[in-house]
Subunit: 140 residues, 2 copies
Amino acid sequence: MPLLTQLQTAGLRATPKRIAIGGLLFDGVDRHVTADDVADMARKAGIKVSLATVYNTLNQFVAAGILKRIILDTDRTYFDTNVSDHHHLFYETSGDLLDVPGDSLRIEGLPAAPEGARVRAVEVVIRMSGTPVSIGSTAG
Amino acid sequence: MPLLTQLQTAGLRATPKRIAIGGLLFDGVDRHVTADDVADMARKAGIKVSLATVYNTLNQFVAAGILKRIILDTDRTYFDTNVSDHHHLFYETSGDLLDVPGDSLRIEGLPAAPEGARVRAVEVVIRMSGTPVSIGSTAG
DNA sequence: AATTATTTTAGAACAATTCTACACTGGGCT
DNA sequence: AGCCCAGTGTAGAATTGTTCTAAAATAATT
């Protein structure tokens, strides 16, 4: 699903800034970025974009469902280009963040949603100390 | 384990402010509070304490292991008087937060910690939309 | 081209938290 | 008792990530 289609589906015009920022983020690699990271990436790529636009764009991408907001830290907001259901391994000392595929964890005993409520997401954060190692295949 | 003992064990003097704030928090009920909540509780209880002291004290309590910081939201930090391993049911619309006992969920498939790293915590947040079931409706 | 809606922007505003730098306390000492 | 002085408490300033504002730029529509 190309970016242009995603934007249109979400009712967002395919503007140069959105295409540029989208191009930085959606290149097939799963990324975890902050707004500042994106501003830096843009600057290095020679894309002139204000920080306000970076925030606007990231928020629009989240609303459009092509980017996911992850909350790990009160200091900064991370955005994840992997929008599938999955979990995170967070190295608190280094700040490194690794995806854990959603189907690699099974969670048993989840309470049933009461009437009038709905489970929007079940998010698991595995908080680690020490240094990350490149993990091999997790979910076989 | 009385508060006074906890404080001493942590190398914190049992000062009036700490005893007062601790008294508000540790009354046998599990509480989820923000720094602002604590400041309000103190004001209502006639305890004169600055917001800076509230923050200092909460952070000291966390360092002492008698309070737990929970991250659910980038806007505010919640503190949990339940320091045992457990999880959370978070109603995003209302902000209501319920504890889910640690032993009520079983999580299978957790990756093994690589050498040099250690799992510090596994935190599950069940994000809900809609309204929470009135468990012990705390209207008031 | 004129008109209108949307997007982009710089900088101000905001809110939660931390920092700073000084005032205060209270327990240990003589 | 009174004097220390490290630890504590405080007001207000500073910091920081994010959002808001209001105006300029751009794109779509007529």
